[in-house]
Each structure stands twice: as structure tokens, then as C-alpha cells.
């Protein structure tokens, strides 16, 4: 019932748009004085406010925003002077790439550790793994980011401290995902450069996710491994590896996917801080700029996109359930 889900989303989206609009506008602050800088006189501030329509009543401004937004037009950013949609699409691939690599880092670390900890539960390695997970979930990502920059960037010079790709590398934009575009072009220097720029932000962003997923994997495997069908599998003579990976993990997957789906939202939130720390030009960094300047239109557009992404991710998670467990139907 995909259609029902999508129709059901409409009032949610409307509600979000109104909330976002209201929150941005009732927050004190004034983009015009800030953008015009220190030289601005009162008269110039008034004139610019008028030209940008910021002196209109709030409801008029909301109507203006909504009537354009339904047509996909979020207006022009006050700071950049470009259409909001253009700015968002310029930045979206960077965030998508970062989120994907973070997710990959998190899954690659957490699932093996989680499975191993469950199988060998109460062993030294299990305790070590869980201890590590506790540390991982407790580290604030801005701190972790700065520490990585300091040691891996500054002291050891292993990785670049900021940006998305080395200067001087030309890439034909196809998907604007640098990893993908560089592979399409067969340009391995570009691929390597993009990957090196992604590593620190991805680890920063992926660490707490990895920690959470490790714990969830461990506990769901622990739950599954006591079930009868595992005993049956062993009884029919299946090797231990097959039992673990094919039976236990597959059955534990539902919980893990749910958590991953839910955490993808947290990943997007985290991207706001991580991208700012690493000057990584994604939509998280853009959102911080928009909010700190009260670039209303840009912030509204961005938060709207964030909300839409939550919605899409949740939908995808539901679809994944069907894949993992054929008994589930939407």
C-alpha cells in the first residue's frame, strides 16, 4: 500500500513546513543587518528588508513560501543569491556519499563485532567489544572530529583536514557522487582523493552508529541463538559458520535494519556537526550557515529536504523488511 503511505505523508509534510516556517521566523535575529555588514545605515536596512519581502506580515510570507514550495520553488537564498533547490542539489550528493560511507564503516565494524560478542558472550573479547561500544556511543562527534583532525591531519599528515577532494582534480559530474563519478571516469587518483577526504568525517559520523549497532546485533543474536530452529539447524549437521551467518544473523536482521533505519535520521543530524567541523560541503554544513544567518528561505528548504529524506528512508526500511522477511507485507 505504497500509495496510502505517500498520501498519508501529505499532512505531515504540510505540518512540517508550517512548523519550520514558524520556528525560523519567531527565532530572533535579522539576516539583513548581518548581510549588509557594518556599514549599513538604518535606511539601507529598511530598504533591503522591503525588497526581500521581509517586512510583510508573517502569514503573507508563509503563503508566499507555501504557494511556491508546492511547485518545488523555495525561492532564492538570501546569502548566496541562488535558488534554494539549486543549492540543495549542489550539496546533496556530498551528504549522501558521506552518509553512505559512514553507514558502511559502521556496518563493517559493528556486525562482525556484535556477532562475535554474542557467540563468545561473557568472554574477555565480548567485554572489550562492549566496552568499546560504550566509549563509541559516548564520544560527542564534534570532539572526535577535532581530535582526528589534530592527530591524523595535523600531527601525522595522513589525511586532509577539510574539503571533499584535492585541488586540481577535474571530474565530469555525472552523479556528483565523487566516488562513483571517479570510477565511471576510471580516474583512480580522484577516487583515492575523494576517499581520503571522506575517511575522517565518515569515521566521526559512523562511530556512534557503529556502537549502537554493535550492541543491538549482539543482543538480537543472543536472543535468536536460543531459539529452537537454531538447535534444529545444528542437529541437521550444518556447519557453525552457516548457522551463524545464514540462520542467526538473517533472523536478527529485522531488528538491526529497524535500528539502522532509525539511526539514519541521527546520521543526517550528525552530518550537520560533522560537515561543519570538516568544512565538508554538504547540506549539513549549508544548514548551519543558513540557520546562523537566518537565511529563512534556505533553512526552510533544507529542513524540508531533511524531513523528506526521513520519510523516504523510513519507506525504504519498510521495503527492506519485506526482502528480509517474506511474511511481512506493507
Amino acid at each position: 500500500m505504497l500509495r496510502r503511505r505517500i498520501i498519508g505523508a501529505i499532512p505531515v509534510v504540510l505540518g512540517i513546513s508550517f512548523l519550520v516556517f514558524l520556528l525560523m521566523h519567531i527565532a530572533p535575529g535579522d539576516p539583513v543587518s548581518l548581510l549588509l555588514g557594518e556599514d549599513a545605515t538604518d535606511a539601507e536596512i529598511q530598504r533591503t528588508r522591503h525588497e526581500w519581502g521581509l517586512d510583510q506580515p508573517l502569514l503573507v510570507q508563509y503563503w508566499e513560501f507555501l504557494s511556491h514550495a508546492v511547485r518545488g520553488d523555495f525561492g532564492k537564498s538570501l546569502k548566496f543569491g541562488e535558488p534554494v533547490t539549486k543549492l540543495v542539489f549542489e550539496r546533496l550528493p556530498a551528504t549522501a556519499e558521506l552518509a553512505f560511507v559512514s553507514l558502511l564503516v559502521a556496518v563493517l565494524i559493528s556486525i562482525p563485532i556484535g556477532v562475535y560478542s554474542a557467540i563468545k558472550h561473557d568472554s574477555l573479547l565480548d567485554h572489550a567489544g562492549m566496552g568499546l561500544a560504550l566509549v563509541g556511543v559516548s564520544l560527542p562527534n564534534f570532539w572526535l572530529g577535532i581530535m582526528l583532525i589534530y592527530f591524523l591531519g595535523g600531527q601525522l599528515n595522513l589525511l586532509p583536514v577539510a574539503g571533499r577532494i584535492d585541488y586540481g582534480i577535474q571530474l565530469e559530474p555525472v552523479t556528483r557522487l565523487y566516488l562513483v563519478d571517479s570510477l565511471i571516469a576510471g580516474n583512480f587518483t580522484a577516487f583515492w582523493s575523494a576517499l581520503r577526504h571522506l575517511l575522517m568525517p565518515a569515521v566521526t559520523l559512523g562511530t556512534s552508529l557503529a556502537a549502537i549497532v554493535t550492541r543491538i546485533t549482539r543482543s538480537s543474536i543472543l536472543e535468536v541463538m536460543r531459539q529452537d530452529f537454531i538447535t534444529t539447524a545444528r542437529a541437521k549437521g550444518l556447519g557453525e559458520t552457516a548457522v551463524v551467518w545464514r540462520h542467526m544473523l538473517r533472523n536478527a536482521m529485522i531488528t538491526i535494519i529497524t535500528i539502522l533505519g532509525l539511526q539514519l535520521g541521527a546520521l543526517l543530524n550528525g552530518s550537520v556537526i560533522t560537515e561543519t567541523v570538516f568544512s565538508f560541503p554538504g547540506i549539513g554544513d549549508l544548514l548551519i550557515q543558513a540557520i546562523s544567518l537566518r537565511d529563512y528561505r534556505l533553512a526552510q528548504g533544507l529542513i524540508f529536504f531533511f524531513a523528506m529524506m526521513y520519510f523516504v528512508v523510513n519507506l525504504l526500511v519498510d521495503l527492506l523488511y519485506m526482502l528480509v522477511d517474506p511474511r511481512i507485507k506493507l
Partner: protein, 510 residues
């Protein structure tokens, strides 16, 4: 999904991981440069260029980035300080008219000659472009005439002696290129500058290459890369690792580490930003001159500079720093005398002291929070109990803050080359609501100074206005701070006080 496959892939994964880590370490070491070269200088900068519209910005560091490609008619010689010709050779102030004589034989990157038409075209664009954030500078320009190819007459509503101050950060673009490219003209900025535009990504790199046909001295360095690195810790790490050659806004507590480093150095210069405590006289108790003077007697900026800014600041002796046009060496600041402050408060009817709120914005001015804590403790000794209120800059500076005249007492800084900038914007009545100060005699002096072409007479008027301000004290002067940069040791460069990093001023020591 076979179990065996999973086992293999794990081993494979570890093997690849180890290989990858090795390669990771090897690749940067192989190309690690450690020092700037004549081929390229990379600047890691706290802010980036937001758009290629040459006039949609209004901050000094951004002017600096643009100044590589497009140039002003006049620049500032900070050693005097005075204006010097750049694209203009000379100028004259005749009542309501300013006559500029342009240098001859200057060509744009496109090959077109730079003439009066380009000056008029650019000023018109600054005035009329809806995205322009520099319009206000030419608000009083009523007419422009090309007297010949190299002479422009600009007429203002009233005689305007401070026109040069408004002009020195205005850059000139090519009319011919605009005619040719129309809407697309901004995609490929064309100016007369020492560097040509190569590429730009929003919040990424701005790349420029040397203009081999530059009319002035040929720059030493071939290519300039401005890279936006917003996080200061990342800029310092990038400089230390050799990923960048010059960085701006080095936090003062990083200075000793950078000074000890074998490959980098610290470059400091007294900045133009004059910090002060503003007292909005429209609010109580700052409507009372005695209270304002009491604030002045309670403050000891030298302690703030020493304890918070590690000595990297310069106490203001009056309303202006010594490198500002209009400075008066005869003016002395109020001495630090908390007892006198308490006496003045008693005289004003506040024998039990006063309670005020001190507003500041930590995201704009370095160490504002720590500084205001020290200020509050100094004020307390003078009988003024200050509650600190921290505000995000967009709130602090906006309509509900400084520019709406809503803050009675706040910590602020304003850069200036000419006293008029501060006097006009903060203290002359009716221009902004920042201080709410009204003094007809002061207004008269500023009016007259703005009409007076003779620099000596003008300075005398500014000094007279300064003395009135010191007596009325709608503010308490504090200090200027050092602008602190980090640079690779082989970059020979003297920083400008105006936050602009110009690569054309740099040389590379081989």
C-alpha cells in the same frame, strides 16, 4: 550467502585494510611539500566566496580575495595612513564633485582597455544590482560623467570629503565583457588584477593564476588557491601538516605552538578593529553622563589584553587607534580609578551602585565571553554590577539588538581607516540606532568634516569631535587586537591590518 564466503571476505577485508592503511600513510608523505612554492600558495581561510557576483558581499577578507582579480581606484597606505592611487593616478575634490584621473594603458584580462566607461558602469552596477551589498557606499552619487577616456567626474548630493573611504574597497569590472557576456558575465570574472580567475566552487576552492600581462609589478607566485576551512583547529592542523601555506585567525593560545614549529611562523599586525563598550544613551542608566564616565573609570583594558589575549593587543587612548585618520594624540583615556567611579555613581544618585546587563556575541568577536567576564569583575569594583548576556551574532546585530537600538550596553568592535566611519555610524544622530547619541555640536562637526576637502582642516574637525565624544563618553574605549596569521616559514609576507590576504604581496624564499 555461504558461510565460507563470509570467512574469506573477512580475511580479505583485513588484508585489504592493512594494505589500504599503508597506502594511506605513503601517499601524502610522497607528495608532502611542507613549504610554499613559487608555483602555488594555498590559503586556508575561515570564510569563502559565497557567489561570483563581485558585489554581493561586504566583508574585508572577501574584498581581499576579489582584489586579486578586480581592483579599486585607490588603496590605503597603512604606514601613513593615507589613500594612494591604484587604478586612479590622482584625484581632486571640487565642492560636490570628485574628479578621478585614471592610469593609462591598463588592460583587462580580456584585453580591453580600462577607461572611464568601466568606472561608471561598475559604480552603476554597485548602486543598482539588487544583489549588491555595497549600494550604500554610493547612496549620494547623483551623476557621473566621463570627461574623457581617462577622467571621471562623480557628483554627490552634497560635498562629500569622505568619498575616498567609501571608494577604497569598490572594485572595477569591464563594461565590454559585460556587454559581450550579458547575464553570464559573472561566470568568468574579468578585471585588471594581478591574477586571473580559474575556477570556483561554493564553499570549496577559489583558484586564480598569475596575469602575465599585469600592468603593475609582476607577482612572484604563479597560482593562488583559497580554500575554505571554517574550523580554526582544522586550519592550524592544515598549516602544520603542510596542507596549506597561510591561515588566518590563529587563536592566541596556538601562537606559542606555531612559533616553536620548525616549518611555520606567526605573522601579526595591529588590526583596524577598535573594540569598545557601547552605552546606548536612550536607555537608563546610560542617559546619565556620570554613569557613563564611571564605566570608563572602572575599566582597565591592559589587564584584559594581558590576561585573555596574551599580550596581543593595543590599548586605545581615546576614541581612535593611532593608525586612524583623525587620531588625536592629545586625548587621553580615563584612568583606571574604581574609587572615582563609585564617587561619580554616588554623585549621580546611585550610592548603592547600579545594575546593568552587558551584551556580547561570542560567535563574532574572539574570546568575547572571557573578556566580558573580566570586564564585569572590573566594573563590579567600580560599583557597577553587570549581568552578562550572550547572544548569537544574528540576534545581537539585528533589529532586536544593536541595530534596533535595543541593547543598552554591549561589547563591540568596528574597523576603520578614517574616524568618520565610526563617528558617522555610531555617534552622529539619525544614521543608525546603535548608540542613540544626540549632540548637535558633534553632528555639526561631522557634517563640516564631511564637506571639508583640506585634509588638515578635516583632521582638526575630527579631533574636535573626538574630544566631545571623550567628554560625553557614550562608549568606553578598549583596545585593538592583533590580527594573527600563520604562514609557512619560506613565505615572505607582511600582513595588512585590514584582514585582506594578498598573494601579490608575498614572495617565496628559496
Amino acid at each position: 550467502m555461504g558461510g565460507q564466503r563470509a570467512g574469506v571476505s573477512r580475511r580479505e577485508f583485513l588484508k585489504r585494510g592493512a594494505l589500504g592503511l599503508g597506502a594511506l600513510a605513503a601517499s601524502p608523505l610522497a607528495k608532502m611539500s611542507w613549504a610554499a612554492s613559487k608555483d602555488r600558495v594555498t590559503i586556508l581561510h575561515g570564510i569563502g566566496v559565497d557567489s561570483l557576483n563581485p558585489y554581493a558581499h561586504s566583508a574585508s577578507p572577501t574584498y581581499g580575495m576579489w582584489q586579486h582579480m578586480i581592483e579599486p581606484l585607490i588603496d590605503v597606505d597603512y604606514s601613513k595612513p593615507d589613500y594612494i592611487g591604484h587604478l586612479a593616478e590622482s584625484w581632486e575634490f571640487q565642492g560636490r564633485k570628485w574628479i578621478f584621473r585614471l592610469r593609462k594603458g591598463i588592460r583587462f584580462h580580456s584585453g580591453d582597455l580600462f577607461t572611464s566607461k568601466d568606472v561608471i558602469f561598475s559604480i552603476n552596477r554597485i548602486k543598482n544590482d539588487k544583489r549588491s551589498l555595497q549600494r550604500d557606499n554610493f547612496r549620494d552619487v547623483v551623476e557621473m560623467q566621463a570627461l574623457d577616456d581617462h577622467t571621471v567626474a562623480i557628483t554627490t548630493e552634497k560635498p562629500n570629503a569622505v568619498f575616498l573611504d567609501r571608494l577604497h574597497n569598490r572594485f572595477f569590472i569591464s563594461k565590454a565583457a559585460a556587454d559581450k557576456h550579458g547575464d553570464q558575465m559573472d561566470q568568468q570574472p574579468i578585471g585588471t588584477g594581478p591574477y586571473r580567475f580559474v575556477s570556483w566552487q561554493r564553499d570549496g576552492n577559489l583558484v586564480m593564476t598569475r596575469n602575465e600581462d599585469y600592468w603593475g609589478p609582476k607577482p612572484d607566485i604563479k597560482e593562488v588557491v583559497y580554500r575554505k576551512v571554517g574550523e580554526e583547529a582544522a586550519r592550524v592542523a592544515g598549516l602544520v601538516a603542510g596542507q596549506g601555506d597561510v591561515i588566518n585567525n590563529v587563536p592566541v593560545d596556538e601562537i606559542p605552538r606555531l612559533e616553536r614549529h620548525p616549518k611555520v611562523r606567526v605573522e601579526k599586525v595591529e588590526g583596524l578593529r577598535m573594540y569598545f563598550l557601547a552605552m546606548n544613551v536612550a536607555h537608563k542608566p546610560f542617559d546619565n553622563k556620570l554613569v557613563r564616565q564611571a564605566v570608563n573609570y572602572s575599566i582597565d583594558p591592559a589587564v584584559i589584553i594581558k590576561s585573555i589575549y596574551e599580550g596581543n593587543g593595543f590599548v586605545l587612548n581615546g576614541p581612535l587607534s593611532s593608525n586612524v585618520i583623525g587620531y588625536d594624540p592629545k586625548i587621553k583615556r580615563y584612568p583606571f580609578d574604581p574609587k572615582k567611579a563609585r564617587d561619580l555613581l554616588a554623585q549621580a544618585g546611585f550610592s548603592n551602585g547600579v545594575e546593568v546587563k552587558l551584551y556580547f556575541s561570542p560567535d563574532r568577536y574572539p574570546k568575547a565571553r572571557e573578556i566580558c567576564q573580566v570586564i564585569a569583575s572590573q566594573l563590579a569594583k567600580g560599583g557597577i554590577k553587570a549581568e552578562l548576556v550572550s547572544q548569537e551574532f544574528v540576534v545581537f546585530w539585528g533589529r532586536s539588538g544593536v541595530n534596533g537600538g535595543k541593547l543598552p550596553f554591549y561589547y563591540v568592535g568596528r574597523p576603520a581607516i578614517d574616524a568618520d566611519t565610526v563617528y558617522d555610524q555610531y555617534f552622529r544622530s539619525g544614521v543608525t540606532q546603535r548608540i542613540g547619541y544626540k549632540n548637535p555640536e558633534f553632528d555639526r562637526l561631522v557634517d563640516e568634516e564631511q564637506r571639508t576637502g583640506d585634509p588638515k582642516k578635516r583632521i582638526a574637525l575630527l579631533q574636535q569631535a573626538g574630544r566631545i565624544l571623550m567628554e560625553d563618553t557614550p562608549f568606553a574605549p578598549l583596545y585593538t587586537l592583533a590580527e594573527v596569521y600563520g604562514a609557512a616559514r619560506n613565505v615572505v609576507w607582511k600582513a595588512r591590518p585590514d584582514e585582506k590576504i594578498l598573494v601579490s604581496d608575498m614572495k617565496i624564499k628559496s
